[in-house]
Symmetry: C2
Subunit: 82 residues, 2 copies
């Protein structure tokens, strides 16, 4: 298992309710791929959304996001944490 | 006070020790601007570093990073968190 930070672009105008709904859609199916989404942060102005997860691979993270209807634009392993 | 996610590009090859040293340089002066750096995640392969902070403004975050010798490429307020 490893930590991943994924980034969604183009989400300008996202509301708290939309972020919550999207996150819940991930949580509902994340176990299928052994992924745990831990937290998500959104900037409605620039349209960036950052998701932190623990997962077996970046592909596993992306598969959950795709099935939940919001594929990530970037998925980065972040093995270094302070 | 608000939450911010800032991003550094071009840090490919960064080591755990370098990340720790850079983070400590931020912590040492963050109080000057009322900033609290909470966590940082690095991907040595792509060279992305993500820093989460609480601060009075994005300019305050950037001033600390600049004085510490590693200006951010992006600083985003992230008012929505799940």
């Amino acid at each position: 298992m490893a930590k991943f930070m994924d980034v969604h672009h183009g989400m300008a105008g996202i509301t708290e309710e939309q972020l919550r709904t999207a996150h819940r859609a991930d949580l509902a199916i994340q176990a299928d791929e052994g992924v745990t989404f831990e937290q998500a942060w959104a900037d409605p102005e620039s349209g960036h959304v950052y998701c932190l997860s623990e997962a077996p691979s970046k592909e596993a993270v992306q598969r959950i996001h795709e099935r939940a209807g919001h594929p990530a634009d970037e998925v980065h392993p972040v093995p270094l944490i302070v």
